[in-house]
């Protein structure tokens, strides 16, 4: 319970922001917070709170998994740091690059291949797999 106290502000913020499927579990001295949101801003805010409570995420006592990626059949914004997002032939960085989407560009999410990779189509018609962490619900 101590960890839930430590990260209370984060948990409360997740609840207040309406994070769906929110799960807060403590196991072997690590707190696991999972949930989904359709807002990239909510995810960023929760990560900011995490960084405030535990500067530079040094403690290793929280695994925060907030999924703000776009659902299949919706549009997603490319939220890379600044670079282009590679679109690949298959789900994996070992797969050939078939195209690129610019930072901030909006793409169509066709389906999710797995937890990490989504099949997308760019406005220029390139279809392939992109890393889901860089796709935020538009």
């Amino acid at each position: 319970m101590a960890l839930q106290d430590k990260y209370k502000e984060l948990i409360d913020a997740a609840k207040a922001a309406g994070v769906t499927n929110l799960q807060v579990r403590e196991q072997n001295n690590v707190l696991y917070i999972d949930g989904s949101t359709s807002s990239g801003a909510v995810k960023d805010n929760l990560w900011n709170i995490y960084n405030k409570i535990d500067p530079d995420y040094r403690s290793g006592d929280l695994v925060l998994n907030i999924d703000a990626s776009a659902a299949a059949g919706t549009k997603a914004k490319v939220t890379t740091q600044s670079s282009n997002l590679n679109i690949r032939k298959g789900p994996g960085t070992d797969q050939e690059i078939v195209g690129k989407a610019a930072h901030g560009e909006v793409v169509d999410v066709i389906s999710k291949a797995n937890d990490q990779w989504s099949l997308v189509r760019t406005s220029s018609g390139v279809e392939g797999y992109a890393y889901t962490q860089y796709l935020t619900q538009a």
């Binding site: 196991q27 072997n28 690590v30 995810k43 998994n65 740091q81 994996g92 990490q116 890393y131 962490q133």
Partner: protein, 122 residues
């Protein structure tokens, strides 16, 4: 010999009677105590079962899938090395502070048991 056994029998019988009869009485009270303790137990049980109530134990990815997914998760962070041991991901190397949240978000989404951030932050 016979006399000794008889004495022993009496001793055992009287000891049993002495200890058992009040024990009966006190057993009732201790039963009541046990009952009232039991009536508090559900709370305790709920507490320990809390993980189940919120979706069961946490699923941790196996090491081989973590290692594989870490290649993708850390690809855009040259200078960062990620190793896996028994579900624990350890990050070493160097990263800039503005890139750290994205790196941590990528790694945290892989269902690790724990993330050890040993990075040097510029």
């Amino acid at each position: 010999m016979k006399n000794t056994s008889f004495k022993l029998l009496i001793a055992v019988a009287s000891f049993t009677a002495v200890s058992y009869l009040p024990a009966c009485k006190s057993k009732n009270t201790s039963d009541k105590n046990a009952d009232s303790a039991a009536s508090q137990l559900p709370d305790t049980t709920v507490m320990t079962d809390q993980p189940a109530a919120t979706g069961g134990p946490v699923t941790i990815s196996p090491d081989d899938s973590l290692s594989n997914n870490l290649k993708d998760a850390t690809k855009d962070f040259p200078g960062v090395t990620a190793t896996v041991n028994n579900g624990e991901v350890t990050l070493t190397g160097t990263v800039s502070r503005d890139k750290l949240p994205k790196l941590m978000q990528n790694v945290n989404s892989l269902h690790p048991k724990k993330v050890n951030n040993n990075l040097t932050i510029k």
